[in-house]
């Protein structure tokens, strides 16, 4: 298991969990989101290859209504 922070909340996941796996298990539509790992944007083509590391701070954002 690895422990990390996901949108400000402490989480645990199986070792070798990818960003894609994390999004799918959280039912997040990857088409409409952007992902940051430790304040660096993770390109979409790395969602399948990047594996969550212990201590990572992961932010997943989308667009919502705003003015």
């Amino acid at each position: 298991m690895v422990e990390f922070e996901f949108n400000g909340t402490p989480q645990k996941a199986q070792a070798a969990t990818t960003i894609r796996g994390l999004l799918e298990s959280s039912r997040i539509e990857s088409r409409f989101c952007a992902v940051e790992v430790n304040e660096q944007i993770l390109p979409k083509d790395q969602y399948d290859s990047y594996r969550v590391q212990a201590g990572d701070r992961i932010e997943v954002v989308t667009l919502v209504g705003g003015g």
Binding site: R27, E39, V61, L63, V64, G65, G66, G67
Partner: protein, 282 residues
């Protein structure tokens, strides 16, 4: 309406900003609607082709499966991501980059645009001028077309244009206040300063609109565009207000181009003196 008139009308009501031509001079927000269906109908009634959106964390729990983007026709609307809720330049740059990442993947033309807001405090939601300027410079350097929310200070407006903002967007009054245009004189000075050697530079009045007549006033002052959200979303009938705003923008712009008459202290009769059959008691 003949063909010539129709074409002239289209050109009159297009907004050129950030290297793009928008079909309408009205930019509307997508926040605060009771439902996404109501938002969609209001956007349609506004006639706008550009809408603002905010960047926020995905909800990890209690997701209802609805995404804003399911309710916005991405072929019709250019999305303008904002940095609302940012109180320093670093956060604003970070949020802008995340918005760009989402829009690039969607192939939306707004991908390199940002509505920059860097706020000074939560009570007034007035911009922090120093942080706004810092963020504007960084985002311009990073290739963004920055549409920059600012106060109605003419000096700050000049500084932001010099920093490379694609549009300076002074507030009519505080965000969401519905107070309308509180200082039209400052807006006139901003328009004069920013357009004196660059008449096509777009100035968009952002924030404070309360109703359709405020929109008409924005355009009668000579502004190029207006950006509003709450005036529509919190109206008793948002779709009807969106329609009113659409018409007010057209009316205001045409009135500006037509040129208002000078104000006079005394009356001036519209009917001729010649041929009067009446007598006067003095």
């Amino acid at each position: 309406m003949n063909a010539h008139r129709a074409q002239a009308t289209d050109q009159v009501h297009q907004l050129s900003v950030g290297g793009k031509l928008l079909a309408s001079r009205v930019i509307v927000g997508t926040g605060k609607y009771d439902t996404l269906e109501q938002m969609r109908a209001s956007l349609d009634a506004s006639g706008s082709s550009c809408v603002t959106v905010a960047v926020r964390r995905e909800k990890l729990y209690d997701r209802d499966g609805k995404n804003l983007l399911d309710y916005i026709d991405l072929d019709r609307f250019t999305l303008l991501p904002n940095t609302a809720g940012c109180y320093n330049a670093k956060d604003a740059v970070r949020v802008a980059r995340m918005g760009r990442e989402i829009l690039r993947a969607l192939g939306n033309p707004g991908a390199d645009w940002v509505k920059l807001e860097v706020l000074g405090d939560t009570k007034t939601l007035l911009p922090d001028p120093l942080a706004t300027l810092e963020a504007c410079e960084k985002l311009v350097q990073d290739g963004f077309k920055v549409l920059c929310y600012t106060s109605d200070c003419p000096i700050m407006a000049v500084r932001l244009k010099s920093a490379g903002a694609a549009s300076v967007m002074p507030a009519g009054s505080p965000i969401g206040s519905g107070q309308g245009i509180l200082n039209p004189n400052n807006l006139k000075i901003i328009l004069e300063y920013l357009k004196s050697d660059d008449p096509n530079y777009p100035v968009i009045i952002d924030a404070g609109v309360g109703t359709a007549s405020d929109v008409a006033q924005v355009f009668e002052l000579g502004a190029d565009g207006v950006l509003l959200n709450t005036a529509i979303a919190h109206a008793r009938d948002p779709v009807l207000m969106a329609s009113a705003v659409c018409h007010a923008a057209i009316a205001g712009r045409e009135a500006y181009l037509a040129g208002r008459i000078p104000k006079r202290l005394y009356a001036m009769a519209s009917s001729p003196e010649e041929g009067l059959i009446t007598s006067r008691p003095w």
